[in-house]
Structures are given as C-alpha cells and as structure tokens.
C-alpha cells in the first residue's frame, strides 16, 4: 500500500490557517495539538471551526478529526474541489480571515471557485475585503491567474459585531503558475482609497477623506478617495466607518493601509478626522517599509512563488512580518523550500527602510485537481 505522507505535528492554535492551507496544497496530513490547552475556554474557537468547515466545503475527501475538548485537530487533506459554495463566516473575525486562505487555494481547484462569503467585511483585526481586492487580486494576476471570472465583489458591507456583509469571490483555475520577477517596485503614481460608512451619517466618509488628503497631499497630488455609503440591507447589522488606502506604483505594485472605527459598544468613539489622518500615516509607514508587495500579502506571494514551476522567482519585500517569518518556516517543513534572503540596504536614496530580496526555485507544483479533457 502506498504510504501516506508522514504527517506534521504542531502545537498551539496560532498560524492554524497557514498550516491547514499548506497541508491541503502539499497533501501532507497535519496534527495540531494543545489548542488553547491552558486557556479558560480551551479548544477551537467559533471562527476556527468555521474556517475548518469552509475547508471541508471546498475540498473533497478531507478527513478532519477533533477531540472532545477541541484542543487537538487532525487534518488529512483531500483534493480541492471548488465549484459554487456559500459560507457563513463567523462574525468574530473578518471575511478577510477566510478570504486570505481562499486566495491561496482558489487557483488550484478542480472547478472554478465561486463562493459567497457572509460575515464581517471590515474590522480592525483582519485585512479588509477592500484591501484584498485592491492588492491581492493584482498580485495573483502577476502569476497568470486572470480572466473575466476573476473578481471579488462586495455586495453588502457588515461591520462588527453584527456583521451582515456579503462578498462574492470567483477565481479561475490554473494548472501551473508563471514565475515572477518583482524586483523593482517603481514609483507611486497615484493613491486611491475607499472611505466607507454604514449606518452612520454619510458625512463621516467625507470627513475621513478630507483629513486623509491633508496628509497625503504633501507627497503626491493624484489622490482620489471614493466614498461609499451603503444603506438599507446593504449596510449590514452594525454601524461603523473606516478607510482603506492603496498606493499604486508605476510598475503595478499596490501598497495598502486601512483603519476601521471601533465596533459598536467597544472602546471609545473614534473621530473620523483622526481615523483619516492615522490611516494616511499608516499608508506612509507602509510606503516606508516598501517592497513590491505590501506587508499583508507577503505570505501569499511567497506561497505562489513556491508553487511555481522549477524556475527562479524573485520578489522584493519590505521587512518581513512575524506572520511571514513563520510562514517561511512552514514552507520549509511542508515543501522543503528555502528562500534565499538578501537584505538590500536603503543606501543614499530616500526610499524608506531596508528591503529584503527573496529568491526561490519553485517546486514544480501542478494542479492535481484539474481535470484533463
């Protein structure tokens, strides 16, 4: 009998998504122990359970075993299936939490994925749907994942704690990915943004825009921040507002920053002016960090580079986030891939902080789920 690929074992609930996603892609089973074992409320949380359910929906033949207390999870991946799926995400985390993993998996399905996700579109913890739409989708296009059906549509906005948002994500499937060479971030030519407000005064968005512009105008004149005020059923169940900013460079790099107001009933009320200013500053921080991919999507780009053909891929990144660093370790244990890491000091140019050049040879991954006709 064919020996099942030896499973990997981890402890703790952190990086659960990475582990499950990589396990699915590599076909190696994974066992996660001690999930909040010493917590007052041990075991998997609702949002994690929801994530596991989502994985179950988009795969075929996965085996998931969770013990009584929920502190141990065994996941034996099946094959990615895709198709039309609907999923109600937990309102404890944003849709971004689920969407980030879907972005990693969607190109390798059997049938093109068309998924409706319901939950919190914008919150303070996870990358919002707006940011992912503005940064992750162009990034995937660099790898040759493109087409008419490739889109992320925000149907309804939902803010925490109530949620009630809805997005539709559809993605075509690919057999192989193209290698990339993203070493020149280019220069920022325009800044776009989206100031949204739901179940509050529509004036909020305008106030955000003005304050954000006041900071960014010092750097570049080409700024346009859209205001998006959703009403009625489209506005979800909780009030809130926020801003996401995206800087686009001449070479097609997107850097993003975002802020959202405190959820209703949690923390002090936030002035839209402060929010706008702080968000603009965050964008400047992101620009200071720089790189060809913004800090949220670092792990995504590294994953897709790993899953490329057996060719050299390169990408210039800003400082690596802790999440990315752990992701690199996971890539090594799941795919035996090590990245060549070169630090590019900023030198004399006024281009922000030091950058890191990541180079790797793809593992020659091919979509095992896709049917040959």
């Amino acid at each position: 009998m064919a020996t099942q690929a030896h499973s990997l074992s981890y402890a703790g609930c952190n990086f659960l998504r990475q582990r499950l996603v990589l396990s699915t892609l590599s076909g190696r089973p994974v066992k996660i122990r001690k999930i909040r074992a010493r917590d007052d409320n041990p075991g998997l949380r609702d949002f994690e359970a929801s994530f596991i359910r989502l994985l179950d929906k988009i795969t075929n033949g996965s085996r998931i075993e969770i013990n009584q207390t929920g502190t141990t999870l065994y996941y034996q991946p099946g094959l990615l299936c895709g198709g039309s799926v609907e999923h109600d995400c937990s309102v404890l985390r944003g849709i971004g939490y689920y969407l980030e993993s879907l972005l990693c998996l969607a190109p390798f399905m059997k049938h093109p994925l068309k998924i409706v996700l319901r939950g919190v579109t914008n919150d303070q913890v996870d990358p919002s749907v707006d940011v992912l739409k503005a940064t992750a989708l162009p990034l995937l296009k660099q790898f040759g994942i493109d087409g008419e059906s490739f889109e992320l549509k925000i149907v309804r906005r939902g803010m925490p704690p109530g949620g009630g948002g809805e997005v539709v994500f559809s993605c075509p499937v690919r057999k192989v990915l193209k290698p990339i060479q993203l070493t020149d971030p280019g220069k920022i030519k325009r800044i776009r943004g989206m100031a949204y407000s739901v179940r509050v005064s529509p004036q909020m968005a305008n106030r955000i825009v003005d304050s954000a512009r006041s900071i960014l105008n010092k750097f570049i004149p080409d700024i346009y921040i859209y205001t998006d005020h959703m009403k009625g059923v489209n506005s979800g169940k909780s009030p809130g507002f926020g801003l996401s900013l995206v800087a686009e460079t001449t070479s097609g790099t997107f850097l993003s920053a975002e802020l959202a107001s405190n959820p209703q009933g949690q923390g002090a009320a936030v002035l839209p002016e402060d929010l706008g200013r702080n968000c603009a500053r965050l964008l400047l921080e992101e620009i200071y960090r720089g790189g060809c991919v913004d800090s949220t999507n670092q792990s995504l780009v590294l994953l897709l580079m790993t899953l490329g053909q057996q060719d050299v891929s390169k990408v210039l990144l800003g400082p690596l986030s802790p999440y990315t660093i752990e992701f690199l370790r996971h890539l090594k244990s799941f795919f035996q891939i090590m990245f060549k890491i070169e630090t590019k000091p900023c030198g004399e140019e006024l281009k922000g902080g030091d950058k890191v050049l990541m180079t790797c040879v793809g593992i020659g991954f091919s979509n095992l789920s896709k049917t040959l006709k």
């Binding site: 009998m1 064919a2 020996t3 099942q4 690929a5 402890a11 703790g12 590599s26 076909g27 001690k34 010493r38 917590d39 075929n60 033949g61 094959l79 980030e100 059997k110 220069k187 920022i188 750097f219 570049i220 004149p221 400047l284 921080e285 620009i287 200071y288 960090r289 800090s295 949220t296 670092q298 060719d311 050299v312 390169k314 986030s321 802790p322 999440y323 660093i325 752990e326 795919f335 035996q336 090590m338 990245f339 060549k340 890491i341 630090t343 000091p345 006024l350 922000g352 902080g353 030091d354 890191v356 180079t359 040879v361 593992i363 020659g364 991954f365 095992l368 896709k370 049917t371 040959l372």
Partner: protein, 1219 residues
C-alpha cells in the same frame, strides 16, 4: 543501325552552363539580368483573386505554425548527468558482449563481467551510463522509464573471435555520442536516480537479534531529471515508497575532464565507473572509505598514494587509546610536554557529548562540552584578558601559528585531550582579531576558523574512534578529507554570536525590526533564565545572568518592542557559548575604555571607522542573520537534540523548561497584518523626506529619469530642463512663482532661437518615429511565439545565473540537489528482502515523487485496449498498471461517458475504441501516460501489452453508474390512475422516487405519485392512458457502483535472486475458476430453449342483427339462402355397383380415354393438314395473281403501243396537214 544506338544529346538543365545560357536567353529577350520573375514580370503575379490570395496566405501560415512546439524553459544543468543507454534483447544475443565492446571502444579497458550500470566518459562533454536489460518485463518497464536512448535498432554483421567487429562498434559508439534526445515531460519534472551502488547501513546488532528487521541502506548514483530535495518522498519500483532520510552529494567518481583545448581525451580522462561490476577504485564516502584492492583498473593515478595510506592505516597495531596515553603535547615551545596523565591530574574529565546539526550539510555533529572547564576557564580567560593589548596581539598571532603547526602534526591521535586548551586559545585569538577593526564579517571569521573547523572535525573523529574501534583505520583519512569542508563548527558559532552581539551594541536605529526581534528574544531568554534560576543552581546560569545584565544596560529600550521571537534553535546556545559571549562583552568594554583613554584626540576618526564598520557589518550580517532568524542555524526536526541540550541536575533530574516558542506565540492571534509598532512622526520634515523618492514626484534613478534621458537626447534643452529638476529636487512648494519667473527670463533669453529649435525638434521627432517604424518593420513581426520563446530563454538564463556564484553546499539548500550531481541517498525502513535478495543485474531506481503523489485516491484515465492484445479487458479483473514510477496491480472499472456527462459502467472494454478506466491507486499527475499488462510473471509466448492510455483526473470520490430497471405490476386500475405494487419494499423508498418517470412495456408513460398504505411499497401512479392488468410497469434508474480499493505494488525486487520475474498478484476470477476446476453455474433463465409457438385461434366475427339491418346492401354479409330440401321421392337412390359392373365401367372408361386420345391426335393431325393445305392454297393464289398481273402488264403494253401508233399516225397526218 549503329547510328541509331547513339544517345541523343541532352540539354543541361542545371549547372553553370545552363545558368549562363539562361542568362543569355533573358538578355536576348531584353529582360535584363533580373533573376526574380516576380520583379521581371510583375503583371503575371498581380492579384487575380483576393479570396484565393487570402486562402493561400492562410495555408502558408498554417504550415508555418504547424511546425511550432510549445516552448519550454530549458532546465538542463550545465554539467548534465551521464546519458542512460539501455541494451536490451532476448537472452543469448550478445548484449553483454556488446557492452564490453563499447566500453573497450571508449575507454580501452576490458570489463570481464557486466553487472549493473557502467558509467564511462565517452567524450569531452558526454558521459554514458550503459546498462543491460534482461528478459524480464519488470526490468524492461523500469529501464524504459529512465532510458535516454532506448528504442533504436542497430545492425551488426556478426562476431569475430567472440567480439563484434571493431569498425562496427566504433560506428555504433559514434552514433551514440552524437545522438540528440527529446526530453520527456515525466523525466524532466521528476528527479530520479539510477543507483549504481548499494550499501547496507543497518546496525549489525539489530540484524543479529532479528534477521528480518527493516534495513537502512544508502544508495548512490547520478541524480537526473529535476532537483531533488532532502526529506522528500521517493518510490523505488519493485520495492515501495520511502522518505529520503538523508541525502548528500559526493565528488563525481567519473568526472568530465576539466576544460582543456584538446581535440580528444587522453587516457587518464577516459574513466570507467561500475561499482557493482567491481570497477571504481577508492571511494570516499561520508562515513567510510571503500577501497577495492584487487583487480581495479580505474583511477590509475590515484592508486599510488591512496594505496600507501591505506596500507599504513591497515598496518597500525596499537589502539587509539593506547596511543593517546602515550602521546604528549607541547602547547608552547618552551613548556613541558603534556601527557594524558597530566590532564587527568588537573581533574579534567571526558567531555560530554552534545549533538548539533550542521547548517550547511544538515549533518549531525557531536560536540564536546567540557563541564568543568567553566570555572577554571573563566578565571583563565579573565586573566588572559588582563594582559596588555599588544601582548595579546602578539600572543594571538603566535598562538595561531602554533596551532596550525600542531594541526599539521596531529592528524588523528589525541585531539580530545588537547581540545580544551585549544579552544581557549582560539577564543583569545578570535577576540584579538576582532577587537581592533570591528569589521570582521562572518565570512572572514569562517575563513579564519576554517582550520579550526578542521581541528574540531578531528576532535570529533577521535571521539568516534573511542566509541567504535572498528573504524579506526579509515576515519583518520576521512577526517582529513572532511576537514576541507568548512562546516559551522562550534567555534564558528561562537564567533557568529560575537559578531551578532557587537552589531547589537553598535547599531542604533538601523534594522529596527530585525534587531528588535532579536533583542526581545534574548530578553525573553534572559527573563526565563532568571525565573528558573532558583531551580537551577549551576554556575553557568549565574554567568549568563551577568551577561544579560550587561546586555540590558547596553540595549536601547526602543528596540525592545516588536513581538518577534526567535525559534529556539537560534539561541539554544550551549552554556559555554554564553560564557564566551560574556567574556567577549567584557573585552569589548575594556577595549572601549582603552580607546577612549588613549585616543581621545582622534575621537572623530575612530567614529568614522566605526561608522564604516557599522555599515559594512550591517550589510554583511543582515542576510545571514535574517536567514538564521527564519530557518535557524540548525535544520528542522531537532527537537530531540534540543532535549539533549537541556542541563541535567545531578544526572538524575532534567530541568523541565517549557518550550519558549510555544509559550509565547502558540496560542496568540492568527493574523497576517503587520502592525506598526513604533510609528514614525510623519509631521517631521526628515521623516517625510525619507520616502520622498518613493513617489513619481521624487528623484528618479539616472537611467529612468525622464528629464535626464531627455537631456541626454537633446543637448539643446539640457540646461533648461536641469534647472527645472533642480527646483523640484529642493522640494519646496513656496518659491514656485519665483521659478516661473526665472523660466520666463530664460525663455526670453533664448527667444530668437526658439523657432529654429522648434523646427529642429519637430524634425527630430519625425526622424525618431521613422526609425522606430523601420526597426519594427524590418525586424520582422515579433510574433507571440517569438515573444514566448524569448521569455523562456530569459527565464532559463536567470535560472542558471541565480545560484551560479554560490558554493554547492548553499545551492543545495536553496535549489535542492541538482541533476548531474553524484549523490548518496540514505533510506530507512527498507524491507530486509531488498538487501538479502539483492541482485546487481536488476536496476534500482529511485524515482522522486511530487507533492501528494504519495497519496492514494481514485484515478480516472482514458484507456484503449492495445490492438495487438487478443482479448478484451473485463471490468473488475485485476490488472497490472505501470504509471509514473510505479508498477502495481489494481482492479479497474471501465466506463464510457454519455453525452450528458454520465459515466456508465462497461462490462468489457470496447474492441477498437477508447473508454474510461477508473481505479483506486496512487495519485499521479494528469497527462501521465501508462501501460497495462495482465501479468508480469513467467514467459508467455503470446505476451502482449494489454492497454495504453493517459491519466485524466484524480479525485477522492467517483461516480460511475450502471443501469438498473425496477419492475412492478398494477393491482388496481382506475381511469388513468393505477396502483402499482412490487417495485419498492417500503413507503420510504417510494418517497425517494416521487415524481420519477415510469413506463409500461407497451409504451404508456407515467409518473410516480405517492406511496400507498396497504401493501408495503405500493404506490399510486398516473399514466397517459389506462393500463391493463397484464401490463408490466418499469422504471429506469442508475445505480452507483463502488470501485474496489485494491492497490498492490509489484514488489518484484523483493523476490529471491533468480525468481524476480515470478511475481504474481491477485488472480482473475477466470484464472481461479480454471485452477480450481469450478464451472460457471449458469442461470437457468439465461439458457436458450426451443421456441414453442401456440397456434393462434381467432373467433368468428359476429355482427348484431340490428346492425346488419342498418347496413347498406353492399356491406351486408352475403349469406347464401339455404337450398330447399329435396323431397324423398325426387331423391335418387344411391347406385351401388357390382364388381362386375365396376369392371365394365372401368373398361369403358379406359376405352373412352383411348378414344378421346385418338380423337385428339386425329384432330391435331387434321389441324396440321389444314394448315399445310392452306399454305399451299395461298401459294397457288399468289402465283395466279402474279400470272394475271404479268398478263395484264403485257396487255396494257400492247394496248399502249397500239395507241401510240394510232396517235403517231394521226399526228403525222396533222403534221402533214400543218406542214
């Protein structure tokens, strides 16, 4: 006659003469010397029909594009692996002889016996691996998967003295060497090794205790195909799936000659390597050296020295321990030699062993830890440190030299003893070297410590020798060999850390995130150390605490912020290391003070150098530090080792340190966002300026700066534009108006030139446009295909260039082991039969598997029965597939896809058509080809490949259906509604089929409505017409069939020697039945019987009387009125004749018959007679008529003459009268 035989003169149609004539002819026609007819006579080639033109254009384009192949990235390595040439054929045709002849042809050496692959250098750039393929289908299949040169027939005329003819062999060799190969997708996308050597590494003790225990083997061979990564999954055809437990590359045993400008190879370079055949000479391995002492011809130049070495090693008689005891060390030139007893007196004990993983090789090392060294060592060190600087310097250098000398002297004898002192010296030397400059990079240190590494190696080896006396002779030379590899020895580690610390101290704000991460990690470490201090009472802990205190003082608080933590690997430093660090720290402090005191005047200078050093350090260190931060100094799965490093209390209790990593981040928030911990103040001008150039409004690089490029292009505007950029560059928005003023002034100044310049500019623009157009036009349209090809080319170049400048150790980490390398692969848990039944004639292939190719699932393939296979294949009959690297037996189901996508089960494969096949087995990428055979055992005269095809789809579930008809019978019939029973067994079943379409045999359609209560499983159904009680109702459904989960790898290599071709797996039902003599029990209903048809009886038609009455006469039944009864008196009595009368009657009858016959004859005769008579009469009549006619003719003639005469005479008279 002779003249006729002469040949007719033939005109030259080609050649110079013809050309000349043609030219002359053209000139005669005054067409000039225009060769091209198209130009000469343009009218003839004018477009006649646009449609035809378009068609011909299409056609040429079609033909052109048909030649294109999809371009692929060229991934062939610079030094490719040897080409695999398989020699195959039936037994006793001279395969071995052919190989021998070929080897002799290429290398001028003679091999007596060919076993396994033979690698030879055949040319300056080409090597060959020749392997013989015996008469076994398993072997053939396996070798076909790795062969580069397979299917070629070559005719050889025959043997002379048991060998083939030299000239023919030479030709064949030439043919092989110039051959070009087509890369196969499977081979280029999977790594594989054709093993040419196998060693059993199992612990002999294990084998002794259990002879059937799983073995650990190492296999050697050239890596081919793609990059192979450590710890990846492999498949050995004929054995099974394994995970690579270790892999390392070795020097090429059959290397290509170095580049020399020569036409051909010299004898030295014509190497041959065939370890299984006993050729190859000395082999240096990771943990052993293998020497083939007898009968070896290879490595002739190396045999001398190695031989000597080996001999000397063999001839050593005393054990290492004995030698150690007797040996003496002179540490300083004037000190007295130290013996082992001295050391014992000092109270030194044997060092503790500690396992450590080398970063580069991924190897395990055992490092010595000297527990007692700490106190004494510390005091020593401190004393040393108190020495004056210059002294130290001198000492250091001299020490180093001394070390090197010693190094040379002491190869493998007593390092363990000396190591302790040595280490201290090293440390001193290191610190001394480091202190003045601060610019020693890792590399430098590594280099400087390369020799030290060597010593450490020797240390280690000597330890090993203590443990295993068996290896003693060999390991010495091995250590020497390995010394060259500058692995990360412990000393190296220390120096790394020294550097690291320094950088931490010196760096202020640079690399905030990385450093902070590091710092916090250390902090964490420190705090934990402190917390556990109470429990662990060792002196080391106190030391480390001291160190931490110092560090805390020095580290800036701003750096302690980020949530980054290090993996435990990075800072699980041995306690001794911590001490060293501490000492370094102190050194540094002292040095700092010194410098301040002595060179107060040159403070700025010092700062300068420090700054430079800082920048340099940052560059040098950032990368390795980051790498270390992420991947750690040790490779993965070192948890066991970590456990070992934990200090033990009194050798009994283990200090239970909670996993630092886990404690802090294991259960924290899972979020990909990278929060800004220490935001900049974006209101400050300098902070804002730090990202100025990130915007298009900022300064551009020289090569991209539009203004600069323009300026270069057009010198005319250079001044003008420069002015503008200068203004922008100042970054002030205030004096814009001023600028404009200046511009205006400038414009005014150059106003008279303006018109001219504008004109010139315009002209220039035009020229540029034209140039661009020309370039585009002349270059030929760069088609999509060309672009694609160019892209691939670029990628290939990048692939080659990216890791070119790195050494193999590092490359292997990033890329994996690349094809062309000679590698050694260690595999564990191999079945013992593999080793016990090892037959070098059979190829051992290690085929690399991609991700999740080791998993099993349902595989769907397009299959076609081979046209030479005589039978058709039956569903559920076990069959052997060869897919990917694997050969396995499985139970396929054949199916065909209906137009609506339904996959319908087939009982048998179609004769000449493709069909689908689905089985449960290993997941293999789509597009992989396969072949199927019925059996691999024995020799069958009518053996054929059963089927071929391609993998289409992989899944974890599959839906193949077969037809199912459910029948039922009406038991109550209303108008169009009937109650049906017998189709289902329960109301639940009916509920599942509500709304389903049903039909009667006679074709009345209907629908299932609802279950009935009365008989279980009955239901109400409505039809389009009324049913009869005799109708049968049926429903067509599809029933999913399950595929048997049977996957049985063909483990032919595990069979005993000589029986390797006898593997037999599961038998088909047919074979089983044949073997057991069981006849198939036929279903009685399925048997054919004679058809008995009952005669059909129809009742007569009955028309009611009323209807008959109403019918018109035409349609009324015509029944004859019955004849009335004949009265009795009129009835004539029946005549009963007497025999006599009957005789008379018979006679009369006969007579009358005779009479009538006579009459008939007479009548005929009369008839004939009459006819004759009639004919005669007719004849007579005719004659009579003729006669009369003649007579009448005569008469009329005479009469006419008479009349004429009369007329004449009358005319005469009249004439006469007239005259």
């Amino acid at each position: 006659m002779e003249a006729k035989d002469q040949k007719k003169h033939r005109k030259k149609n080609s050649g110079p003469k013809a050309a000349k004539k043609k030219k002359r002819h053209l000139q005669d026609l005054q067409l000039g010397d225009e060769e091209d007819a198209r130009k000469r006579n343009p009218k003839a080639f004018a477009v006649q029909s646009a449609v035809r033109m378009a068609r011909s254009f299409h056609r040429t384009q079609d033909l052109k594009t048909k030649k294109h192949h999809i371009p692929v990235v060229d991934r062939t390595p610079l030094e490719p692996p040897p080409i695999v040439v398989v020699v195959m054929g039936p037994p006793k045709v001279g395969k071995s002889t052919l190989i021998q002849c070929l080897i002799r042809n290429f290398t001028r050496q003679k091999l007596t016996e060919i076993r396994g692959p033979v690698t030879i250098v055949s040319g300056k750039k080409r090597r060959l691996t020749i392997i013989e393929c015996g008469c076994d289908i398993n072997m053939m299949i396996d070798l076909a998967k790795v062969a580069d040169l397979g299917a070629k027939l070559f005719y050889l005329s025959g043997m002379v003295h048991g060998e083939y003819q030299n000239q023919e062999i030479h030709n064949l060799g030439r043919f092989i060497t110039v051959m070009k190969f087509r890369p196969l997708t499977w081979q280029t996308s999977h790594p594989y090794i054709l093993a040419d050597r196998m060693e059993d590494l199992t612990n002999p003790e294990d084998i002794r205790t259990n002879i059937k225990c799983d073995r650990k083997v190492s296999l050697y061979g050239y890596l081919r195909g793609a990059h192979l990564k450590n710890k990846s999954q492999i498949h050995m055809p004929g054995v099974g799936d394994f995970a690579v437990s270790d892999i390392s590359f070795l020097p090429d045993p059959c290397a290509l000659p170095e580049q020399q400008k020569k036409r051909c190879l010299n004898e030295k370079e014509k190497l041959v390597y065939a370890p299984l055949s006993g050729v190859g000479g000395v082999l240096y391995d990771k943990d052993a050296v293998y020497v083939d002492l007898g009968g070896s011809h290879g490595f002739q130049d190396e045999v001398g020295p190695t031989h000597e070495l080996v001999q000397s090693l063999i001839s050593t008689h005393s054990t290492i321990d004995a030698k150690m005891a007797s040996s003496r060390v002179t540490l300083f030139s004037d000190s007295k030699p130290l013996g082992s007893e001295d050391i014992d007196n000092q109270g030194l004990m044997m060092p503790k062993e500690e396992k450590q993983m080398d970063l580069n090789t991924g190897r395990m090392r055992r490092k010595a830890i000297f527990g007692d060294e700490d106190e004494s060592g510390d005091s020593d060190d401190e004393e040393d440190d108190e020495m004056s600087e210059d002294d130290g310097l001198e000492n250091g250098s001299s020490d180093e030299e001394a070390e090197e000398e010693e190094n040379a002297e002491m190869t493998d004898q007593y390092m363990a003893v000396k190591g302790i002192k040595r280490r201290k010296l090293e440390l001193e030397a290191d610190s001394e070297m480091d202190l003045p400059a601060f610019a020693d990079s890792d590399d430098d240190l590594e280099r400087s410590s390369a020799e030290e590494g060597e010593e450490e190696e020797a240390d280690e080896s000597s330890e090993e020798e203590d443990c295993t006396a068996g290896e003693k002779g060999i390991s010495g030379s091995k250590a020497a060999g390995e010394g060259s590899k500058a692995g990360l020895s412990p000393a190296n580690c220390q120096s790394d850390h020294v550097n690291l610390e320094k950088s931490l101290l010196m760096k202020k704000a640079a690399l905030p995130t990385f450093d902070s991460g590091h710092c916090t990690a250390e902090e964490v470490f420190a705090s934990e150390d402190e917390s556990e201090e109470s429990s662990s009472l060792s002196a080391e802990e106190e030391d480390s605490e001291n160190e931490e205190a110092i560090r805390k003082k020095l580290s800036k608080p701003s750096q302690v912020s980020s949530g980054q933590k290090l993996g435990p690997q990075n800072f699980i430093d041995e306690t001794s290391d911590i001490e060293n660090l501490l000492k370094e720290e102190e050194d540094y402090k002292e040095e700092n003070n010194d410098s301040k005191e002595t060179s107060g005047a040159l403070k700025w200078k010092e700062d300068l150098s420090r700054k430079a050093a800082e920048a340099f350090l940052r560059q040098q260190q950032a990368a390795p530090n980051l790498r270390k931060l992420i991947y750690g100094t040790v490779t993965e799965d070192n948890e066991e080792e970590d456990d070992d490093t934990r200090e033990e209390l009194g050798g009994l209790f283990r200090v239970n340190q909670p996993d630092r990593e886990c404690k802090h981040k294991a259960d924290s928030l899972d979020c990909s966002r990278f929060l800004v911990e220490a935001p900049h103040d974006w209101d400050l001008e300098e902070v804002m300026n730090s990202i100025r150039d990130c915007f298009v409004t900022g300064k551009w690089e020289d090569d991209k700066d539009a203004t600069k490029v323009l300026a270069e292009d057009e010198e005319l505007y250079g001044d003008f534009e420069d002015l503008e950029t200068g203004d922008v560059h100042k970054g002030k928005s205030g004096p814009n108006t001023q600028n404009e003023d200046i511009e205006k002034e400038v414009k005014e100044e150059i106003d008279p030139d303006e018109e001219e310049s504008a004109k010139k500019k315009h002209l220039d623009k035009k020229r540029k446009l034209k140039e661009m157009f020309d370039a585009e036009y002349d270059e030929g349209e760069s088609t999509y295909f060309d672009d694609l090809k160019g892209e691939m080319q670029k990628q290939a170049q990048l692939n080659r260039a990216e890791f070119e400048d790195q050494d193999d150790e590092a490359r292997v980490q990033y890329e994996g082991f690349r094809p062309g390398m000679y590698v050694r692969v260690e595999i564990e848990n191999v079945p013992c039969e593999f080793v016990q039944n090892f037959d070098p004639h059979y190829p051992i292939i290690l085929g690399g598997l991609g991700n999740s190719e080791g998993n099993v699932g349902y595989v769907q393939m397009r299959l076609k029965k081979h046209r030479w296979y005589k039978k058709i294949l039956k569903s559920r009959d076990p069959i052997i597939f060869s897919v990917g690297w694997r050969r396995f037996q499985t139970i396929p189901l054949y199916y065909i896809e209906d137009h609506n996508g339904r996959q319908r089960l087939l009982k048998y494969t179609p004769q000449h058509m493709h069909c689908g096949a689905a089985f449960w087995g290993p997941i293999t990428p789509q597009g992989t080809g396969f072949l199927a055979i019925q059996s691999v055992s024995g020799i069958m005269p009518d053996f054929r490949i059963a089927a071929t095809g391609v993998v289409l789809d992989l899944d974890k579930s599959i839906k193949i259906v077969k037809k199912l008809k459910l029948t039922g019978f009406p038991y109550k019939i209303f108008k169009n509604t009937s109650f049906i029973k017998g189709m289902f067994n329960s109301a639940l079943e009916v509920a599942k089929f509500e709304g389903a379409v049903i039909r009667t045999v006679s074709g009345i359609r209907g629908q299932i409505k609802k279950a009935l209560r009365a008989p279980e499983g009955a239901f109400r159904a409505s039809f389009e017409d009324k049913l009869l009680m005799s109708d049968i109702v049926f429903m067509r459904t599809w029933y999913p069939v399950s595929i048997p989960a049977f996957y049985n790898p063909v483990t032919s290599l595990l069979k005993p020697v000589g029986e390797k071709d006898t593997w037999s797996g599961m038998r088909t039902t047919g074979q089983l039945r044949l073997a057991h003599g069981i006849r198939l029990k036929a279903n009685k209903d399925s048997l054919y019987k004679p058809i008995l048809r009952q005669k059909k009886h129809f009742n007569s038609l009955h028309i009611p009387k009323a209807l008959q009455k109403a019918l018109p006469f035409k349609n009324k039944p015509k029944t004859q009125a019955k004849a009335g009864k004949v009265p009795k008196d009129r009835r004539r009595p029946a005549v009963i004749r007497e025999p006599h009368e009957r005789k008379i009657l018979a006679l009369l009858d006969a007579l009358s018959t005779v009479h009538s016959q006579k009459m008939k004859k007479a009548k005929e005769q009369r008839h004939l007679h009459n006819k004759e008579h009639f004919r005669a009469k007719q004849k007579e009549e005719e004659e009579k008529l003729k006669r009369q006619k003649d007579l009448r003719k005569k008469l009329f003639r005479i009469q006419g003459q008479k009349e004429r005469r009369n007329q004449k005479s009358s005319l005469k008279g009249a004439e006469g009268q007239l005259q």
